[in-house]
């Protein structure tokens, strides 16, 4: 078991955002979180990278552990953070750095990889996501879909144990979504362990090993894509799924 999340709880401004989230994930598996906005899926995902700090709960990733009810040392934060890398909805690429510089920043500056080696590796990754021609471009010169593929390359270059995706295609024009999903699918086939927040049910159906449906800060239902999409147990799940399907 690579990832073990126990009883995450968080409130903000008197409102419960996470109300006891528990799940586990084995190495090489893909977990998809779905649910209406405000259900806590993004907060759950961001907690895995400690971009959010729940007040309660325990997070274990690959042998490292954080107990959120206690003060957390900087060393622990770093150790946990380096187990995973986040792909953001709005890409959050570094606008003052070229595509190549974006991808090697973490390996060179944080992991102290030799620059030539990092560049070599970055070129390979960028080639795989179809961006070989844009190594020296700046992010603003790229389309949204290209930027998001740089975002994925930047995360992959860190060789984390866990890749996190926060609605990676939500900011994209519809015709650009496919390229990004294709890259994510390839990563899943290569055996990366992934946690994905998305509204792309088709992607979830094809790629996910497990789907969680979150509602009001709790996991209302979980199962394989077949179970959850084919035979949802809860009325809320059914409502949500039909609303999403109709929109597409």
């Amino acid at each position: 078991m690579l990832l073990n999340v126990k009883n995450l709880q968080k409130s903000f401004g008197g409102r419960r955002i996470l109300n006891g989230i528990d799940f586990t994930l084995d190495e090489g598996k893909v977990l998809v979180l779905i649910g209406p906005s405000g259900s806590g899926k993004t907060t759950t995902l961001r907690s895995l990278n400690l971009l959010e700090r729940p007040e309660q709960g325990v997070l274990q990733i690959d042998g490292d552990e954080v107990d959120f009810s206690k003060p957390v040392s900087k060393k622990t934060i770093r150790a946990i953070r380096r187990k995973s890398a986040m792909v953001f909805q709005n890409y959050n690429l570094f606008p003052h750095k070229t595509v190549l510089e974006n991808v090697i920043e973490g390996p060179v500056m944080v992991q102290k990889t030799a620059k030539e080696k990092a560049v070599d590796n970055a070129r390979k990754i960028l080639e795989r996501v179809g961006l070989s021609d844009f190594l020296d471009s700046y992010p603003h010169q790229l389309s949204g879909g290209q930027q998001q593929r740089v975002g994925i390359a930047r995360a992959v270059a860190l060789k984390p144990r866990l890749l996190l995706f926060d609605e990676p295609t939500s900011a994209l024009d519809p015709e650009l979504v496919g390229d990004v999903l294709k890259v994510m699918k390839d990563l899943a086939l290569e055996g990366w362990t992934m946690v994905v927040v998305t509204h792309e049910l088709k992607f979830a159906e094809e790629v996910a090993d497990k789907v969680l449906f979150l509602d009001q800060g709790t996991i209302l239902e979980q199962g394989t894509p077949d179970e959850l999409f084919g035979h949802p147990k809860h009325e809320r799940t059914r409502q949500f799924l039909s609303r999403i399907m109709n929109k597409v």
């Binding site: 900087k74 986040m86 750095k97 973490g106 500056m109 944080v110 700046y138 603003h140």
Partner: protein, 231 residues
């Protein structure tokens, strides 16, 4: 000596020519170096104060607030006087040049702190998160990710601060630094041609500031290369 005869102004050209170089020299030897050195120290103070203002620790935030408030709430001329004429009362003797550098640096520090703070805050929060997610800590994210972007935002206001500073160095004349304006004053002591000599001083300040504004434009254009409208 210029004469004012029946609405006619006669310019004493030989005096203008003779005085130009000494006044310019005061500018090159004192005004510009004084401004540059004070600006460097001022930016260091400003960066420190900006980071204190952004700190999570209340006491640190207040230290910066009080400092900025005092600097912005008192005239530079008075600050100069306290440092140069006042500190000797405490047994701290300050040379005119050092006094000028200290006062000007502290002054720039107070004003530029707010500029730097605002420019750091103008960088989207997602950039901090992107730094953290690739494993960087606060300091490294600040240095490598946030400040380069904040720099672009802060160049226009900081350039204005520098141009103001170049002109503010003229106040150092009051503590006997023989900078540009003091040179002009010294020459008027014998020639009494105030209009000519002070106009000459003004012209030289203007030339300095004009050149600086051109340099400012170049720096902005350079930093613009990665900033697009779709940011």
């Amino acid at each position: 000596m210029s004469l004012f005869v029946a609405g006619q102004i006669t310019v004493d050209w030989p005096l203008a020519a003779h005085s130009f170089w000494p006044i310019l020299q005061g500018g090159l030897i004192y005004t510009i170096p004084l401004a540059m050195i004070s600006f460097v120290f001022g930016l260091i103070i400003a960066m420190g104060m900006a980071l204190l203002r952004l700190s999570h620790v209340t006491v640190l935030r207040w230290i910066a607030r009080v400092y900025i408030s005092i600097i912005r709430g008192t005239p530079l001329l008075v600050q100069l006087a306290i440092i140069f004429f006042g500190l000797p009362d405490l047994g701290i003797d300050v040379s005119p040049l050092i006094g000028a550098v200290v006062a000007l640096s502290m002054n720039v520090g107070g004003y530029a702190a707010e500029t730097i703070r605002a420019s750091i805050l103008s960088v989207p929060k997602g950039q901090w998160e992107a730094g953290y997610t690739i494993g960087m800590g606060y300091g490294q994210t600040l240095r490598r990710i946030i400040l380069p972007q904040a720099a672009r935002v802060s160049i226009p206001p900081l350039s204005n601060s520098f141009i103001s500073l170049v002109k503010d160095t003229s106040l150092a004349s009051t503590i006997t630094v023989t900078e540009l304006f003091r040179r002009a004053q010294e020459i008027t002591a014998t020639s009494y041609d105030f209009l000519l000599l002070y106009s000459e001083a003004a012209l030289i300040y203007w030339i300095f500031c004009f050149i600086l504004s051109i340099i400012q434009g170049r720096i902005e254009a350079r930093l613009d290369r990665y900033v697009a409208s779709n940011e």
